[in-house]
């Protein structure tokens, strides 16, 4: 039985196809201005096994032909993410919170705390005994701790997002950085550059500041082993290491493919629904 999960995020879109709950294929692309086109495109990416964003595949995929698959073949499709409401061919839409919680358990059984740093929203989730969402918190009315904030700074430093992590690890000193305002953060980064500060050190300061903010969010709902980081940010080694410094010896577990956790969760929910229907008739 084939099920599909589509995660239309504010920055990137992901699509996962499961066969009876086993990963068949997935794809990721950047979210374009037109959401309808994007949702089509990300399905193509999945069946073509393209991951536009973070380069090479991380997940081993079964060696079978999938490029013939169409949405028509799916028993059920669940959408999530910012644009979840407008995916034309989705049967159901579920919020990122539930999907990340579900997906994280597929990757990391026994997970108890989840941090997801999205473009617009940063989420801290505590997983209950039966794998349900026990509690969650999202960034307050300030965007300081979001992925977008990081992008804005990376942008003025002319460093591709995928490289800010490795680069920041070469820092020798961590410069103070404020996350209270995106526009100001941008200005501050330019200022430091102009004063001859090294990008490494600016980024290290940025990661330090953001780590503080996003961790506060997880601690609010309860930080415990196993602690999982999902979303593209999981690929930012700079931020992850800053976070690891601050979790009091706790180990951070990264899913093999942090990008697709939400989409995968959605696909699992799709499987539930499909099976219910199957049982019904």
């Amino acid at each position: 039985m084939l099920t599909m999960g589509i995660d239309i995020g504010s920055r990137s879109s992901k699509c996962v196809v499961l066969e009876d709950g086993k990963l068949l294929t997935y794809g990721t692309i950047e979210t374009g201005p037109n959401i309808l086109k994007t949702s089509q495109a990300v399905v193509d990416a999945a069946v073509q096994r393209r991951t536009g964003l973070w380069g090479e595949y991380r997940m081993p995929l079964p060696d079978v032909k999938v490029d013939h698959l169409t949405i028509g073949d799916m028993a059920c499709i669940v959408s999530t993410g910012y644009g979840r409401a407008v995916v034309p061919f989705a049967h159901r839409s579920i919020t990122e919170i539930s999907c990340h919680c579900r997906g994280a358990q597929w990757f990391v059984p026994g997970v108890s705390s989840i941090l997801d740093v999205g473009g617009q929203d940063t989420k801290g989730i505590r997983v209950g005994a039966n794998g349900e969402v026990a509690d969650f918190a999202m960034n307050d009315k300030c965007a300081g701790g979001t992925g977008r904030f990081m992008e804005i700074v990376a942008d003025v430093l002319h460093v591709p997002l995928s490289e800010i992590g490795p680069l920041s690890l070469q820092s020798t000193k961590t410069l103070p950085f404020s996350t209270t305002c995106a526009a100001f953060g941008r200005g501050a980064a330019v200022a430091m550059r102009k004063e001859g500060e090294r990008k490494e050190d600016i980024l290290s300061g940025l990661h330090e500041a953001i780590a503080k903010r996003v961790l506060a969010l997880v601690k609010k709902v309860g930080l415990a082993d196993k602690f999982v980081i999902t979303g593209g940010i999981g690929r930012n080694v700079g931020l992850v290491s800053k976070i690891e410094e601050r979790v009091d010896g706790l180990k951070v577990t990264l899913p093999q493919e942090p990008m697709i956790v939400g989409a995968l969760g959605a696909a699992l929910f799709a499987l539930d629904t499909a099976q219910k229907q199957a049982r019904a008739n």
């Binding site: 103070p176 200005g187 200022a191 430091m192 500041a209 503080k212 601690k219 601050r246 009091d248």
Partner: protein, 433 residues
């Protein structure tokens, strides 16, 4: 481990000791800086050693009758000062404490003095306190004392002051609140207040006031004899050790040094180009800023709102009524000027600007301070139309140095002081052309 960045009381003590050694070697500083740091260290030491000396510790906010505490062997931990001294010793401590605070769900938009306290308590790094004391009016954050008291099982007592303290019934009530405070303290400590001892303390406290006023006069001298390192000297003595001989000795020394400097023609900076008044708090978040301003712009900090005495500060009305005196004192005393209407604060500051011959004002708009955020513009407009003193508004956080970058501050000060120099009022004040 990030927790290590947060300062414990011992680390603060050590830091202050180091600083004292440092300033002794450093040339060009005022002699009084040693006494200054001694007052601060003594204050912290008294807290550290309270228990073994059989004294009590009360963490408290503003508008407290510290003389009563002094007379009852209760040593105060002024929560705002704790943030300030942390910044002096190690700038990383406060931001760390505040991120801990955030992790408990406290929003990042309430006062940093309290978020710092919140974080340190959560991390177990706040000085061990037997009880909390707090007071209104205005600042709504004092509610944090009760909240934290509840959370950590520390008894607390709040003093209620009318918004308009000068009516008879308001004064009567305020004095009565002190009586209730004494009852609370007697219950907590199991000791009775010795009124004769209180009278002595109050008398010494009044001596401090007199010295403070003398010093104000000296500081208003042009060029200003007071250097940044000792800028908050009076405040430190009055707000930390009122009614103590230590405080008196320090202020006496400071006064004499200022006299001497004026006689010898020594001033804070050779070429005094601007006299600056801080219309909210001074830049605690960046202890080096005042010195920097002197060097770059010849802008000398001559006065601030926190160390402002209302009226003529003659609060010793009846030596035999210490409580009555204190009730009156706390509404006049430094650090309490801001707990009032913006128009009233502005009037006080306009008068101060005249007395200290101020050229420009800087208003630190502390992100977490609702009071300041709402009356900053009134103060700015009043200063302009009353004494034609322009104001630079700096958006900052009172304690968190990461909130606004030095580059940002510099670029704003560049503009401000260039503007001042070309302003008509400035030229007239300095009778240029």
């Amino acid at each position: 481990m990030s927790n290590d960045k947060m300062l414990s009381i011992d680390e603060i003590l050590a830091g202050l000791k180091k600083a004292t050694e440092g300033v002794k070697k450093q040339p060009g500083l005022m002699k009084s800086i040693v006494g200054y740091l001694d007052v601060v260290s003594t204050y912290v030491e008294r807290i550290a050693t309270a228990k073994e000396e059989g004294k009590w510790v009360a963490s408290h906010g503003t508008q407290q009758p510290l003389e009563i505490l002094e007379a009852m062997d209760v040593r105060g931990v002024f929560n705002e000062f704790w943030g300030v001294v942390s910044d002096i010793v190690r700038l990383e401590s406060v931001p760390e404490a505040m991120s801990v605070s955030a992790s408990t769900g406290t929003p990042g938009e309430v006062c940093s003095f309290f978020r710092n306290m919140d974080g340190l308590m959560h991390a177990g790094k706040w000085p061990r306190s037997d009880f909390f004391l707090y007071a209104t009016s205005c600042c709504d954050n004092v509610k944090a004392f009760h909240t934290l008291g509840r959370r950590y099982g520390i008894p607390s007592f709040g003093l209620e002051r009318s918004y308009f303290p000068y009516t008879d019934h308001a004064m009567e009530h305020w004095k009565n609140e002190y009586k209730r405070l004494i009852v609370f303290l007697e219950e907590q400590t199991g000791k009775k207040l010795d009124y004769d001892r209180l009278k002595e303390v109050v008398a010494r406290s009044y001596r401090l006031t007199e010295l403070h006023l003398e010093i104000d006069k000296l500081v208003s001298h042009v060029p200003c004899p007071l250097s940044p390192e000792c800028f908050s000297g009076t405040l430190v003595a009055i707000r930390l050790l009122p009614g103590t001989q230590k405080g008196i000795d320090f202020l006496t020394g400071l006064r004499d040094e200022l006299k001497e400097r004026i006689d010898k023609g020594v001033s804070a900076v050779k070429d005094e180009r601007f006299r600056v008044m801080w219309t909210s708090f001074t830049p605690f978040f960046d202890p080096t800023l005042m010195g920097f301003m002197q060097q770059k712009y010849g802008a000398v900090s001559v006065c601030d709102m926190l160390s402002h005495w209302r009226g003529d500060a003659k609060w010793m009305l009846d030596p035999d009524d210490p409580l009555g005196n204190l009730a009156y004192r706390t509404v006049l005393a430094p650090g309490n000027c801001q707990y009032s209407s913006g128009v009233d604060v502005a009037a006080n500051l306009s008068d101060k600007a005249r007395r200290f011959k101020v050229d420009g004002a800087i208003f630190n708009n502390n992100f977490g301070c609702k009071t300041g955020a709402a009356y900053g513009p009134i103060i700015k407009d009043e200063l302009m139309c009353e004494v034609s003193v322009p104001t630079l508004t700096l958006n900052c956080d009172v304690l968190d140095h990461t909130f606004v970058s030095r580059a940002e501050i510099e670029s704003q000060m560049d503009s401000f002081f260039e503007m001042l120099e070309t302003s008509k009022a400035y030229k007239e004040r300095r009778n240029l052309q």
